[in-house]
């Protein structure tokens, strides 16, 4: 079975495969069932085997202090053995699942009779759990990144409000929907606003300003924090500091949630005392379902919610700032500053939206290692069933390949995560040709059309570029995707990508297609935002490319060539300062 730890340390069986009638699926186990020392052990040792719970324990007589932390043969606590006997288990194999350096859960295999596994079986079990861990890590991160992308889109929609006379109420409704909250209120310039569905009275929550982390505070039990509820059964709260002076704030409330937890046995240890009066820990004998209703809390806000709230916060602030500025619009400079803020916000969020597309392409790439892992693991399964010993030995090799593939998946996800880091400057030195080749390949595989012939002419000397790699990668990605789209349905589809180091120390890249060319009417406005010749898309792609390149003190231009178009950009090679205003 697969056992997952919750935030408070208690565990739940989330998957199960068994031939027995006893089912544990969906049952919760109190945190004390797996005490802290055992948890520490699971972080150190990636496998724990008890081949026979009734095997006699051998005493060691060491001549000096002996550290058995890493010993796989170390006996376990007699309490744990009693616990297992009470469950009717004679042998166990436990594979801890460690994700982001914390104990996420356990893969637990039970056997009702003693069972000794061979070294090969143990080794392949260990490797399988490594694969599982890496995949799990990737899934959890991908899930989080997906939510962040969605939030960035929301932030974009705020920053992109056409009418500057937006209403607080509209924003509140969007936020309530996005974060699945029941009610919303704001405290701005000394005035309380009951927004989306907030029917209770005004509450003073200003003390929460001090508790924020990244200007956000979350709890599923507000009375435990401020000593009172927010009324109307709202017990969960996400709190956002809206200004640097710590006056204004926004509250997102969640209602009480009746959560029925099915425990495996009443979650209390039977405690007795030995003859010296010391407590005897006695594991419970019954594991039958015992239901408890927890009714004081809301559905929890997750760490991802926390992160997502801090992502959306800057555009909320920009919006409120512009609204304030409007209200106080007696000085022109204030208005101007708010508009510049808003424009910068817009640009940043547009950048994130376009990152989303690059991210989708990279996520698509994940299918390759996932397919390979699935193949290797399936092949291992088949070989393990084969009685031939030689075949069994090759299992290790296959599982190692699976681990390598899982690591490759990990690298892809790592790349993805780098893209998601919210907008501070990420300039670094990199090989321009490497970057170019990777971005072109990614754009080609992610576009729907195959059969594009690629001519890659890279400069003979590797150009060492100092720039924001992710952003330049995005520019290449956009230009190649445009080129491929321009060649859709053409007889000849040829893409020529060239890099060179110019005499004035620029890294110059040109991308030539054999596509339909550009309408001469559009050419002068090509890099202006919201001009597009395509039926879909916002028409910000090229304007984004230009702003990125100009941020790098470079330039970008387009030219008609015989049959097709050439886009070229050039950025200074060893730039070490200036640029990007984030």
């Amino acid at each position: 079975m697969c056992y997952r730890f919750h935030a408070d340390g208690h565990g739940e069986v989330i998957a199960e495969e068994t031939e027995l009638s006893d089912r544990y699926l969906g049952l919760h186990y109190p945190a004390s069932d797996i005490p802290e020392p055992a948890r520490k052990q699971f972080l150190l040792n990636r496998i724990r085997i008890i081949a026979d719970v009734d095997a006699p324990i051998s005493q060691l007589v060491p001549s000096a202090a002996l550290d058995l932390s890493y010993s796989k043969l170390r006996a376990v606590s007699p309490i744990h053995l009693t616990y297992l006997r009470n469950m009717g288990v004679a042998a166990t194999l436990v594979l801890p699942l460690v994700v982001d350096d914390t104990l996420w859960g356990l893969m637990v295999c039970h056997h009702s009779t003693p069972k000794l596994l061979s070294a090969t079986e143990l080794h392949s079990a260990e490797l399988s759990s490594q694969v599982l861990e890496l995949l799990l890590e990737n899934i959890l991160r991908a899930e989080r990144d997906r939510q962040i992308i969605r939030t960035q889109e929301l932030a974009y929609s705020f920053a992109h409000t056409e009418t500057p006379t937006f209403e607080l109420q509209d924003m509140a409704a969007k936020l309530a929907h996005h974060f699945a909250v029941d009610a919303l209120a704001a405290f701005i310039d000394g005035v309380w606003h009951s927004l989306d569905n907030w029917t209770g009275d005004e509450v003073d929550l200003s003390m929460l300003h001090q508790k924020t982390h990244d200007d956000v505070f979350i709890t599923d039990d507000i009375s435990a924090v401020v000593g009172q509820n927010m009324g109307d059964d709202l017990v969960g709260c996400a709190f956002l500091s809206l200004d640097a002076q710590r006056n204004d704030y926004l509250v997102l409330g969640r209602k009480r949630f009746n959560n029925v937890v099915s425990w495996a046995g009443a979650p209390k240890k039977a405690v007795g005392f030995d003859k010296d009066g010391l407590p005897i820990l006695e594991p419970r004998a019954s594991f039958s379902r015992w239901e408890q209703t927890v009714a004081s809390k809301s559905k929890p806000f997750s760490q991802t919610d926390h992160l997502a709230l801090s992502v959306v916060l800057p555009s909320l602030r920009a919006l409120l700032a512009s609204k304030k500025a409007q209200r106080l619009a007696d000085t022109a400079s204030l208005m101007e500053r708010a508009q510049t803020d808003l424009r910068n916000q817009l640009l940043n969020t547009a950048r994130s939206a376009s990152l989303g597309e690059l991210a989708a392409a990279i996520a698509h790439e994940l299918n390759q290692p996932l397919t390979s892992i699935s193949n290797y693991v399936s092949a291992s399964q088949l070989l393990l069933k084969n009685p031939d010993e030689d075949q069994k030995n090759s299992v290790i090799e296959l599982m190692e390949s699976a681990v390598t593939e899982a690591q490759r998946a990990g690298q892809i996800v790592h790349h993805l995560r780098n893209l998601m880091k919210p907008g501070f400057e990420r300039k670094l030195e990199f090989d321009g040709n490497d970057m170019l080749e990777q971005a072109v390949r990614l754009a080609l595989t992610s576009s729907r059309q195959g059969g594009v012939h690629l001519d890659l002419h890279l400069s003979p000397d590797a150009p060492s570029v100092y720039a924001d790699k992710v952003q330049i990668e995005q520019v290449v990605f956009n230009l190649v995707r445009n080129a491929v789209e321009a060649m859709e349905g053409m007889e000849e589809r040829r893409l020529a990508v060239t890099s060179k180091i110019t005499d004035d120390e620029n890294f110059e890249v040109s991308i030539e297609d054999t596509g339909a060319g550009i309408d001469p009417n559009i050419l002068p406005y090509l890099f202006e935002p919201f001009r597009t010749s395509k039926s879909d898309g916002m028409g910000i792609g090229l304007s984004l490319c230009r702003s990125t390149i100009e941020d790098h003190h470079g330039r970008i231009w387009a030219a008609e060539i015989g049959d097709g178009t050439r886009f070229t950009f050039a950025i200074p090679l060893g730039q070490t300062e200036g640029g990007n205003e984030h």
Binding site: N367, T371, I373, N375, S378, G450
Partner: protein, 201 residues
């Protein structure tokens, strides 16, 4: 001569190529590996190959182009296409052009073997696979109006989510219709549905 069936695999991703080959060997097939369509055309022993497992999206000759090239040369090796999520419309083209079946990456061992075994039995121009226009339409007439609407979108390779949005019903409801119509049409695989659509005119 060996009685083992020989499966050729063409995929530009080296590890997918190698691992698929390892898996098929463990399942008892003989395999040959080709990192590109060009490599397959130059190196493959076409007389020995019983089935071709082919990636849709590759640089150089794409999967669809290789399929066309083989058909132009009158080589009728059954083809199982491997697609990635989002490539389904391309796979629909492939089935129309006579491919036996298609599976989506990442696929399970079961899906792969089932597809290969299906393709080994598959004869494009004879037997139960070829269907007259009338027979196809007679079967499609068994569907309700809503099932027919779902069917028309399914054979375009649309997902439950997109179909749901189009027809303004929930993806779950789409799934129920999808199962029901497969049952009524006696067609388990998407490839069969596409062929049925094609036969219907």
């Amino acid at each position: 001569m060996s009685t083992r069936k020989c499966v050729a695999i063409v995929d530009d991703d080296r590890s997918v190529l190698a691992s698929t080959s390892v898996l098929l060997s463990a399942l008892g097939y003989a395999t040959s590996q080709h990192p590109s369509g060009e490599h397959f055309l130059e190196e493959a022993d076409l007389d020995r190959i019983d089935c071709l497992v082919l990636d849709v999206r590759m640089p150089g000759i794409s999967g669809l182009e290789l399929q066309k090239e083989l058909s132009d040369r009158d080589i009728s090796i059954p083809i199982v296409f491997i697609t990635a999520h989002g490539d389904i419309p391309m796979a629909v083209k492939a089935i129309r052009a006579g491919a036996a079946d298609m599976i989506e990456k990442p696929f399970t061992q079961g899906e792969l073997t089932e597809s290969i075994e299906f393709s080994l039995r598959y004869r494009p121009f004879s037997g139960p696979n070829s269907m007259t226009r009338d027979a196809a339409n007679e079967r499609l007439d068994r569907l309700t109006k809503r099932e027919r609407e779902v069917f028309e979108l399914v054979v375009l390779g649309e997902t439950n989510k997109t179909i749901g949005r189009e027809l303004e019903i929930s993806p779950r409801t789409v799934d129920v219709h999808r199962k029901k119509l497969r049952e009524k049409l006696g067609a388990d695989r998407l490839a069969d549905l596409i062929r049925l659509k094609q036969a219907s005119g």
